[in-house]
Symmetry: C3
Subunit: 339 residues, 3 copies
């Protein structure tokens, strides 16, 4: 279900019309069922459309209730067995979904051509608005929040109390708690870089999610936090991000985490609470980092890290092991006497 603060439903479609629009063949289900929204397959309701790229993505799922799921031929039977209401088959479900989804759901946008601060924004008490600030329709700004010059707050955004938004920051599709600190130049809520190939080449995939920041989160200067494809990219209370950090779509960061400069977390990875990442540490997509884990500077994490462990290196492994290996390598090169 897309967040109505940020997305606008268009006219609903029947399953029949949807399959037609997607160029997909309906192979199961009642073609008069009405569809009005989009969602990730796992959470999609009977009036929502979803898609799945391959059978591999069904692992661990026990029942589904999506209204319509787009898939390739080989995935249709498992989807029917899992309870999806209607199934339509096509060669490129991601492309078909992208086309179809934008018929049902459109992000709210403000072009800020006629006003800077929307008359439909709601501002709390003692809000300080710097020169030129843009605030979109239905945005809510909590009491005591200070917004620096030329910051842009998109439609529907919710800022808590006593937040600070730095100059030239761009905040869209975002709900944040109290005392959140966004430094200058940070950009929140952009679509992540999801791509697929259609017959003409590479296409960027549409995003239908948002960003959530807990109380006292800090986002450093020129850092970027992308919105989720569906649901929320989340950063838990009191987590602090340094400058030039990238948080990709669907990432979940726990509370009290600290990420130094140039840390990057690829799509859908999950960090527990109290995780510390040294500068330039990167985490691949769909990785889980346990509570209290510490990741050394410049580490490239390609595997899950258990709670409380300390990892480093490229690719990352337990830091002690990495250190031992570096010593062994030095000894090896010395022994060989290569000069």
């Amino acid at each position: 279900m897309s967040d109505k603060r940020f997305y606008e439903l268009q006219a609903p479609l029947t399953v029949r019309a949807a399959a037609l629009a997607a160029g997909a063949a309906l192979v199961h289900g009642d073609d008069t069922l009405m569809l009005c929204d989009v969602a990730a397959l796992e959470t999609a309701a009977p009036d929502e459309i979803a898609f799945v790229r391959s059978a591999r993505h069904l692992k661990g799922l026990h029942s589904l209730s999506a209204g319509l799921c787009l898939c390739t031929e080989d995935v249709k039977d498992p989807l029917i067995a899992l309870g999806v209401q209607a199934v339509a088959v096509c060669p490129r479900p991601d492309e078909a979904f992208n086309t179809l989804a934008l018929l049902l759901v459109q992000p709210k946008r403000a072009s800020f051509t006629e006003y800077a601060i929307s008359p439909h924004a709601r501002l709390g008490k003692n809000v300080q608005i710097g020169a030129g600030v843009c605030i979109g329709p239905d945005a809510q700004i909590g009491d005591g929040t200070v917004i620096g010059p030329y910051a842009v707050i998109g439609p529907g955004c919710v800022l808590g109390k006593n937040c600070i938004i730095g100059a030239n920051a761009v905040v869209g599709f975002t709900v944040m708690g109290d005392r959140v600190d966004i430094r200058p130049g940070a950009v929140l809520g952009e679509p992540g870089l999801g791509v697929f190939a259609d017959e003409n080449g590479i296409v960027a995939s549409a995003h239908f999610g948002s960003v959530y920041l807990g109380d006292e989160v800090r986002i450093g200067a020129n850092s970027t936090v992308d919105r989720a494809v569906f649901g929320q990219t989340q950063i838990g209370a009191r987590s602090k991000l340094d400058n030039l950090v990238q948080v990709s779509h669907n990432v979940q960061i726990g509370e009290d985490c600290v990420l130094a400069s140039f840390c990057g977390i690829a799509g859908s990875s999950v960090l527990g609470n109290d995780v510390m990442m040294g500068g330039r540490a990167g985490i691949a997509d769909h990785i889980t980092i346990g509570t209290g884990a510490r990741i050394a500077a410049a580490a490239a994490v390609m595997k899950n890290i258990p709670d409380g462990e300390v990892w480093g290196g490229h690719p990352a492994r337990p830091l002690r092991r990495y250190m031992r290996e570096q010593i062994a390598l030095r000894d090896l090169a010395t022994k060989k006497g290569v000069s």
Copy 2:
């Protein structure tokens, strides 16, 4: 030849005056020849000035027609043999060129002190211009293009149809096709970081080129694409760049490439079509990456990669080899029983 949309020729100089201004000794050629522009040595015409740092840069060249080339003593004979019209010798050709070039060619600048949108900009139909947008003289904005608040479009820039320019983006010295998507905070067309040393220390070298983006290119939030020293930095149609990516001067990126966050490509490197780069992958300068190559996240590429190969590691090598080496290293450290 500098692009007249972005650069303004000053009064032309004779070879004699040019050599004098550069503090260089004319060792060959007609000193009354007129010079009016600058170019890279390989492409310089008889009315253009070029320079060369060392004999090494002449490799592979068969004939040259530059009007005047600045060089060190040891390079003069090969230059004459290659057909350069006039040759002048000095100890630091890069410094001499920098001084001389700025006498002949100046970038057009808009200080936006008196207007935000130049009366000499040409706007298409249904263009949406956000609050405070600046557009320089002679810029062209295609039909249906949407420019977010506080974006700055420099003099002479050409934006195609239905482009999206994010809030606070800065676009200069850039020509782009249709449906290009520039996310907030991106900066296009800055001079790259070229430096040389004069007697006082480090100096940044002047740039006389531009940026070209094909149709449907996407540049992520806070990413930067530098303009070329001469000619164009190019990004081919449909290539998608994530947030916080750096593309240096003179880089050539093919079509349908995908570069994840923190990817960096150093000066003059060339990527074929369909190249995929994982997050934080970096490519050194003057490297060639073949069509369809895939580069793993966090790779540091120091060598050319052939078509279709998959490389990773630091420094990058074929990914399978890198994996084998990591296993061998782990076994070595285990065997040694270092704890």
Copy 3:
């Protein structure tokens, strides 16, 4: 001593009141002594408050004259021996200091709600101010300086002559020399990411320092330079930073250094003159890099580098050694015949 261009002293406190406000037990000194400012322990004067995290930080100190130092129980005796006027003990000196310091010293801020250019700013001759530029109270702009549209110059900043400030750059707490070149989107003077834990979780620590840039320094697009905790983050004359570079709090960069894209220098590290860093090279905190050192692209520097040496790798070591090790590793994997 905090720089009065950027910080405002509040009402002074007695040692007694200060210890009370900090929740610390006064264990040494005259409780009527007046305190009015904050400083790093090494430089704190008798009317200034400092703190120390552990005894380890006293190494190498021979005498101190701070008015009041907050510390844990085990550090009190060494502090008294070193000559600190008054000592107060508490379990978390960093937290206590943070609370206390903000009672004595507050950064000057401009919210730019009522004007864009402060009537109390001082502008030199032939200054060019782009559309929407904000300049805070008591800022000084030197003759001939050009400020791009929507740049924000904070209170008290000093810009020399003939500087260029790019569009959308944000400059605070900064003093710069002449002919400094700040490219678009750069952010200078933000507090660095210092954190400590209080009983509720992670808290960001307050900063009381500034940034100094020498003549002809160049800061690339979207790069970030944080202000010091105390004193100055410094970048020496003619040093050139590429796009997307991060310089953390308290860093000292010498003259004529060149830092390529994505270089990052963690807190308090020191670079001599003439240091060259390839792209994506990172330096850990509290590291010293000797004059003329060269650091290869993608290096992760965890140790001091002597003058003139060339290092690379992850973690960085002398580049020749790194190369030898990579060869040894390749040979090892080949010999083992793992395929």
